[in-house]
């Protein structure tokens, strides 16, 4: 050990005094934190104590240099927000070039701070550096904005402040842009959502750094625009105080600069901030609900200031419809008083915004929030008429920007007002190893994922083919609402959705779809990820869940969106591959492989049909009708429809057809029962083509007894039935004539085909003609994917019949301009041989090319 001199004793004494002073300050902050009061005031007191330590060290170190100097606090310390284990950032400026004496000064200042266990960030500059400030380091420039002189020569401090003030106008715009970029980059690290189940209260979206960024943007952007709007200072201050108290607790509990409010620390924070509730879970939920509300306030304030400080390119104010304007900030109301009085029209702002992929302006959101808080309108106030209800449903069609608009609706309270069941999952926490976001945020992320699926090479086409994609989004909004209550959330959620479906007046198809999707929303992932999907029985059972391919498509899309919204890493390419394969296998099972799966007399659905059969249908009649039909028939049609088919099949004779034509929503449904014979299917298609009907989808089924059931859903695009009072009679007459052989449909169609009205501009698409002999033991399955065209199905089925081939089962579907038809065919009661397939294929391809 070396000799001890007086200087060392002085230094040791100083350090002891500083250490004692620091211990006292930390004890005060710890006490305040334990009381749940580790906010602004406590942090400022803590900062002041550290100021005293730094000043004492500067005084002692001054003997090392004769230079004039200034020592300033910057960053969070400059703002007097010094947490228990935060770094302290110092700026030291000398009036001359930095030499050995100045270096000794720096050492004399920093070494004792390090000995006191401070993490010190320091910038050392000469005052001349501020004549031309280096603008390549925006973080340094931003830290200067919080500069707070601590010690040194008054004249140096004044020079420094003057230098910064005089040069700031040149670099302020630059650092404003840098701040925006840094903020975006920081948010992207948190996947741009504040609804993290274990949020970072310093850097996360809506956390303390955003409070600072909001104030800084307001400060820096003030010169860019006249009259920047204030960022709700009271709410921002309140949010900051709350976040500070939480962060103080985190530092205390972790014993280091830790800022993630983990599950474990949430319990401690709830206790410290005196949340009440019957159990820990409820207390934590109350804490986190407050956290998310404050974080949301901060995020909104930041967004508002950002739009003002960094405005988008100038846009002229445009009136865009009933009481709506498109302004710089987005869509807003032209007449605020009128808008306040008309809640049913608020959705128009969001419709206009989503159609232009721009936000709804803050003042419009604020108006909605304020008015809804005051009046607490019931859901019906937002959709008093059928038109309003339909508009709400149509609004939910997946498009870029939909989830952002839904988020705005959520934040201003409109989403919960229209769909009150969603309020139950607001800020709801799911505690498990997988979920990363609150239930409401997870829900909106699923919608965002659906938007992204639109451009997915595999699943995009599946999404674009959906007849009613808005039902997928509606199902996603409700798929997890059951988590708010006890019980199986899939079942509870489906029950909770019934109220919404009634309020919106959804038809039976839509109700069944939503009910099915909510109840089944976990099934596909469970089977794809946990079962052996190479096992045909697994695929068969899975496929049997669906009544239509539309439901299968919706479930795979819902599953992808749902799994992808659990956390950023949950939906891996590996899982996506498994889901795709299960989808394809199930789709093929439903379209290619269902023909061999014949109705079994003993199966439960048959028993149920028999048990509830009307008095006019005997057990024998029922059993006889069902015999030999594929099982899928029982899933495709409701019991009422099946009983109707049985009645239609009564007393049918050769060359007769019993049929019924019904209007169903926007489309028509034609059900034909007849005894099977060659060309029957193509003749019916020909009659529909003759009347200009667009066949949308349909099924043709043949029983073992030779009864053919054909069900077509078609659109009367030319309004033939509406414009011709005798149109339906004419249709009936022609159909009878063609089926019983009195009229030749080919002759009827010849004149039609020559009409210019019959021709349509088509986007050329290479048709696919594919034969499958693997999926069915009984049938050759012919799949045709081609550009839809008038009379296409007639020409295809005619070509098949011309080859002496029997059409036993048919699935017809149209997806946009694409027709997808699957025929189960035989010749002479057997599958087709290779040469027969080749000949038919050649004819079909030639015919399809001519059609296009």
């Amino acid at each position: 050990m070396g000799p001890v001199n007086g200087k060392d004793v002085d230094q040791a004494g100083l350090r002891l005094r500083l250490s004692a002073s620091l211990d006292a300050a930390r004890s005060e902050l710890i006490d305040a934190t334990e009381r749940g009061e580790g906010g602004r005031l406590a942090l400022a007191l803590h900062s002041e104590c550290i100021d005293g330590i730094v000043r004492g060290l500067v005084d002692t170190a001054r003997v090392q240099t004769g230079a004039a100097l200034a020592v300033c606090a910057v960053g969070g310390y400059g703002r007097r927000s010094q947490f228990l284990h935060s770094d302290i950032d110092l700026l030291v400026v000398f009036d001359r070039a930095i030499g050995r004496p100045e270096e000794r000064f720096i050492k004399a200042l920093l070494h004792p701070l390090w000995d006191l266990k401070f993490q010190v960030g320091h910038h050392v500059r000469e005052i001349a550096d501020f004549d031309a400030i280096d603008t390549s380091n925006p973080e340094y420039l931003l830290s200067l904005m919080d500069l707070r002189p601590l010690a040194g020569d008054r004249e140096m401090v004044d020079r420094l402040e003057r230098a910064i003030a005089s040069s700031a106008p040149q670099w302020r715009p630059q650092i404003l842009d840098a701040l925006v970029t840094l903020t975006d980059e920081r948010h992207s690290e948190f996947h741009d959502t504040l609804y993290q189940l274990e949020p970072d209260v310093k850097d996360g979206p809506g956390a303390l750094r955003d409070v600072w960024a909001t104030r800084m943007m307001l400060h820096l952007g003030g010169e860019r625009r006249h009259a920047p709007r204030p960022a709700s200072p009271d709410r921002l201050n309140d949010a900051e105080e709350f976040l500070m108290r939480i962060r103080s607790g985190l530092h205390l509990d972790a014993g280091r600069n830790a800022n993630v409010l983990s599950y474990e620390l949430q319990e401690k924070a709830a206790e410290r901030l005196r949340y009440t509730g019957p159990d820990v879970r409820r207390r934590v939920e109350a804490l986190m609900t407050d956290y998310f509300k404050d974080a949301r306030s901060v995020t909104r304030a930041l967004g508002r200031v950002r739009r003002v400080a960094v405005p988008p390119p100038p846009t002229s104010i445009r009136l865009i419809g009933q009481n709506l304007m498109w302004v710089v900030e987005g869509i807003t109301f032209a007449d605020v008083t009128a808008a306040a009085a008309a809640p049913a029209e608020w959705m128009r702002a969001f419709e206009a915004a989503v159609s232009r992929n721009v936000p709804v302006a803050d003042d419009a959101l604020a108006l909605i929030e304020r008015e809804q808080q005051v009046h607490n309108h019931a859901p019906e106030a937002f959709h008093p008429t059928d038109e309003h209800r339909q508009r709400i449903v149509q609004f939910l069609r997946p498009r870029p920007g939909l989830s952002a608009r839904l988020s705005e609706m959520r934040d201003c309270g409109l989403l919960g007002a229209i769909f009150p069941e969603l309020n139950e999952i607001s800020c709801r926490v799911t505690r498990d190893f997988y979920h990363k976001y609150t239930v409401d945020e997870h829900t909106l992320l699923t919608v965002r994922n659906v938007e992204r699926l639109l451009v997915n090479p595999r699943f995009g086409p599946v999404l674009r083919e959906l007849r009613a994609p808005e039902m997928l989004v509606l199902s996603l909004l409700y798929h997890d609402v059951g988590k708010a209550r006890d019980g199986d959330h899939s079942i509870v959620g489906a029950e909770m959705a019934t109220g919404m479906m009634s309020r919106l007046g959804l038809d039976e198809d839509a109700r069944q779809t939503i009910d099915f999707l909510i109840r089944a929303h976990l099934k596909m992932s469970r089977i794809a990820f946990r079962r052996d999907t190479e096992e045909p029985e697994v695929v068969r059972q899975f496929a049997s869940l669906f009544s239509t391919e539309e439901h299968l498509k919706m479930l795979v899309l819902l599953t992808l969106a749902d799994v992808g919204a659990v956390s950023p890493d949950t939906l891996t390419p590996w899982k996506e591959e498994l889901l795709w394969r299960l989808y394809v296998d199930a789709y093929n099972q439903m379209t290619l492989g269902y023909g061999d799966d014949i109705i079994d007399r003993e199966q439960a659905l048959v028993a149920a049909l028999q048990a509830s059969r009307p008095a006019d249908i005997s057990e024998t009649e029922m059993a006889s009708f069902l015999e030999g039909l594929p099982r899928r028939y029982l899933i495709l049609f409701s019991p009422e429809a099946i009983y109707g088919h049985v009645r239609l099949s009564r007393d049918i004779r050769p060359d007769e057809a019993h049929f019924v034509l019904q209007k169903k929503a926007e489309a028509w449904e034609l059900t034909v029962v007849s005894l099977d014979k060659p060309f029957l299917f193509s003749n019916i298609c020909g009659v529909l083509a003759y009347f200009g009907m667009d066949i949308l989808r349909g099924h043709a089924l043949t029983s073992l007894a030779g009864t053919a059931l054909d069900v077509f859903e078609f659109a009367d695009s030319d309004q033939f039935f509406e414009l011709n009072s005798e149109g339906r009679k004419e249709f009936d007459r022609r159909l009878h004539e063609v089926i019983n052989g009195q009229a030749d449909v080919t002759s009827l169609l010849k004149s039609k085909e020559r009409s210019v009205l019959f021709r349509r501009a088509l986007v050329p698409r290479t048709p696919v003609v594919y034969f499958d002999n693997g999926h069915s033991q009984r049938y050759t399955v012919l799949e045709i994917v081609a550009e839809d065209a008038p009379g296409l199905l007639y020409r295809v089925s005619r070509a098949i019949s011309d080859h002496g081939i029997d059409v036993d089962l048919v699935l017809i579907s149209t997806e946009g301009q694409k027709a997808i038809d699957v025929f189960h065919i035989t010749r002479g009661g057997a599958k087709l041989l290779e040469d027969a397939e080749a000949a038919l294929k050649a004819d079909l391809e030639r015919m399809l090319k001519e059609s296009a």
Binding site: F529, D532, E534, W574, K575, R581, N588
Partner: protein, 109 residues
Amino acid sequence: MKLIKAIVRPNMVDNIKEALGKMNIAGMTVTEVRGHGRQKGHTAVYRGREYEVSLLPKMEIEVVVPDSSVDEAIKAIIGAARTGEIGDGRVFVMPVEQGYNIRTGEKDV
């Protein structure tokens, strides 16, 4: 010590975990992988168009066990993962020189 690496069908992981759990082997690493062995994938058809499924989704399980437990662990994995059909997977065994606990710094014995 030995590192046992098993490439198995995805749906067999729970069975294997349970089988190893009965041997008091609790620690394991499970990774989603894709690949093929003799089962070289197959061609699937969607709407008449073929697409290649050359790399099949599998799970890779890694466990480190004492030398004395290796045979038993391998038997447990094979017993739990086997269907008898092509595509059941593979088990590899590799020597491990040393292992350390990161939290405590202690060396595995």
